[in-house]
């Protein structure tokens, strides 16, 4: 019995880590490329969860909303980049940060406005609603689905970034936006694309999280705190770093709660502080 508790806790950690990775991957892309610490990312994540809820209620099909909600959120992200963020770009990073902050606030309030203040019931699709036996303990299928889905997204993104022409452009713009601009690539357009894909990823994470955590108004801020820890530990702009750090945080939290529940919260920030102090660019970040 002892072993199975550790195992279940490990899987818990992996599942939450995967969820974190889904959120962090979009954020780290946007940060790595545009230098914008996008606080509104949590808002997009929350928007995804709520949009997903409405689409499921409307159409009754989870898979349908898994595609549609991220697209909706991606469009919202594109609008934000084009009409708001681009205007304050010349004023520097602090103002961009503050702007995304205000946008987060607006999204959060709109969510409360349309969907109310209380957590919404959101059940996983019937295909995944069962649970199975793992070493003598039952485990819901849906969480295992999150795990697999996270891996799929990781591989898709890695393939996109490493193997395609778009990926090469994006990676080049991450390392030196000015140079890419000089080489004749329309950097604002690339920014727009990356920002909307980043937001769409946040929306996707929201939909995935919805049956697991059920949508509630504070979910954006809650996950943002963990996500920031992830991108700081993993290194800004690094996909691999985000992946490793997500799983670290996930495991740290789930074992922390098992062993020393009182200090579980503290560990994460200690880890983050230690990494920032000893290696300011994160575990996998490139030098500034």
């Amino acid at each position: 019995m002892e072993v199975s508790i550790y195992l279940i806790q490990a899987i818990h950690g992996l599942v939450y880590g995967m969820l974190l990775f889904l959120v962090a991957s979009g954020l780290t892309l946007v940060f790595g490329m545009m230098g914008v610490l996008n606080i509104a990312h949590g808002g997009f994540y929350m928007l995804g969860a709520y949009l997903g809820y409405s689409i499921v209620v409307w159409s009754g099909n989870f898979w349908f909303c898994l595609i549609l909600a991220p697209i909706g959120v991606g469009i919202a992200g594109a609008l934000v980049e084009r009409f708001l963020l681009r205007k304050v770009h010349i004023l520097g990073h602090a103002h961009e940060l503050l702007l995304t902050f205000g946008i987060y606030f607006i999204i959060g309030e709109m969510v409360k406005w349309f969907w109310g203040n209380y957590p919404l019931p959101f059940s996983p699709p019937t295909l995944l609603s069962g649970s199975s036996n793992i070493m003598g303990a039952t485990y819901p299928h849906y969480r295992l689905f999150i795990l697999c889905f996270g891996f799929v997204v990781l591989f898709l993104m890695a393939a996109l970034l490493m193997k395609t022409r778009i990926g090469i452009t994006v990676r080049a713009a991450v390392s030196d936006a000015e140079m890419v601009d000089i080489l004749g690539i329309d950097v604002p357009k690339v920014f727009l694309g990356v920002f909307s894909i980043g937001s769409a990823l946040a929306g996707l994470a929201g939909v995935i999280a919805a049956p697991f955590l059920s949508p509630y108004p504070g979910m954006g801020l809650d996950i943002m705190v963990d996500t920031f820890a992830v991108i700081v530990i993993g290194g800004f702009g690094s996909l691999l770093g985000a992946f490793v750090a997500s799983l670290m945080i996930g495991e740290l939290q789930s074992y922390g709660i098992l062993f020393i529940p009182r200090l579980a919260l503290v560990f994460e920030f200690l880890l983050m502080a230690i990494v920032l102090i000893s290696r300011p660019t994160g575990l996998f970040g490139e030098k500034q």
Binding site: A94, G102, I106, L221, F228, V232, P280
Partner: protein, 298 residues
């Protein structure tokens, strides 16, 4: 409400010392506010008859000490990294306040006994009366404002501004960037601590809400609305913020939405804040030109 404006103004000014003068965006400034508040509450609770003024001062000192320790790690970093690390430390303090129930009472918080005390010339000050609290808070806040204002005029203030403009250049000229920022961070923590202690007196109650992320966010709202970089901006901003949240929340439940829109509009179109909207420069040059033309005649 005026009391609220007073200590929030002090909090905002302390935070603006970092952002406006030092160019350091702190997202965890509530930590020192909370440390100050908890220090005062614990002193008054555990030491009977502890002098209130000393407790406020010690609240500030505790905030300053926190600032010194955290600042030692944080001020080497810049921009987003700095913001995130301060956020992390704030969460760290929040977690301590939440988890260390035997000391802080966790979410239940600590009640602050409002004391009566005597000042030789002015007579007794009864902290149970709102007017007395008002005078007490206002006097302390104004004294603090003068100290901060004086600090910005000293050579130290100029050094800080030089570092904000270009830290590499300041470093080459021979200023100690690290030490200056650390001192700035400590001072800022000190005044935030005093603001927190005043808050504790006003509320009569301290809980984890004082050290929450949303408090750090609130203070950023204030300084952005009022205007960064100028001394009076944050004061105006905190006044507007407290007044508006009070007023709008009576009219509509969606006041946070209105606030968010206002915030975005200010960042977009008036990035110097409300203070920046007034044509100070024009008035200044107008007055100066008047006095110049008048000069030779008289």
């Amino acid at each position: 409400m005026l009391i609220e404006i007073a200590f929030f103004a002090l909090f905002a000014v302390s935070c603006n010392m970092l952002f406006g003068y030092g160019g350091l965006l702190s997202m965890g400034h509530a930590a020192y506010f909370g440390i100050g508040a908890y220090t005062l509450a614990l002193l008054l609770k555990n030491v009977i008859g502890f002098p209130l003024l000393l407790a406020v001062l010690l609240g500030g000192m505790a905030g300053g000490l926190g600032g010194l320790i955290v600042g030692y790690f944080c001020v080497r970093l810049k921009g987003g990294y700095f913001a995130l690390l301060t956020l992390a430390f704030c969460q760290f303090f929040f977690a301590i306040a939440l988890m260390w129930r035997s000391l802080t009472g966790g979410e239940d918080g600590i009640g602050v006994k409002k004391p009566v005390f005597y000042i030789p010339i002015l007579g007794s000050i009864n902290m149970r009366q709102t007017t007395d609290v008002y005078y007490f808070v206002t006097v302390i806040v104004i004294v603090c404002f003068f100290i901060i204002w004086y600090l910005t005029k000293t050579p130290f203030g100029n050094t800080i501004r030089a570092i904000k403009e270009n830290d590499e250049r300041a470093d080459f000229i021979g200023y100690n960037v690290f030490l200056s920022r650390l001192i700035l961070y400590t001072i800022s923590g000190f005044f935030a601590g005093i603001a927190g202690a005043l808050f504790a007196i006003f509320q009569g109650f301290v809980s984890t809400g004082t050290i929450d992320i949303s408090r750090s966010i609130e203070v950023l709202f204030m300084i952005i609305i009022g205007g960064t970089g100028s001394f009076f901006g944050p004061i105006l901003g905190s006044g507007v913020y407290v007044y508006f949240t009070d007023r709008i929340s009576r009219i509509t439940e969606r006041w946070e939405f209105v606030l968010g829109v206002l915030f975005v509009l200010i960042v977009l179109y008036a990035h110097k804040g409300l203070v920046g909207l007034f044509p100070w420069e024009k008035i200044k040059s107008f007055v100066l030109s008047r006095s110049k033309t008048r000069g030779p005649i008289s």
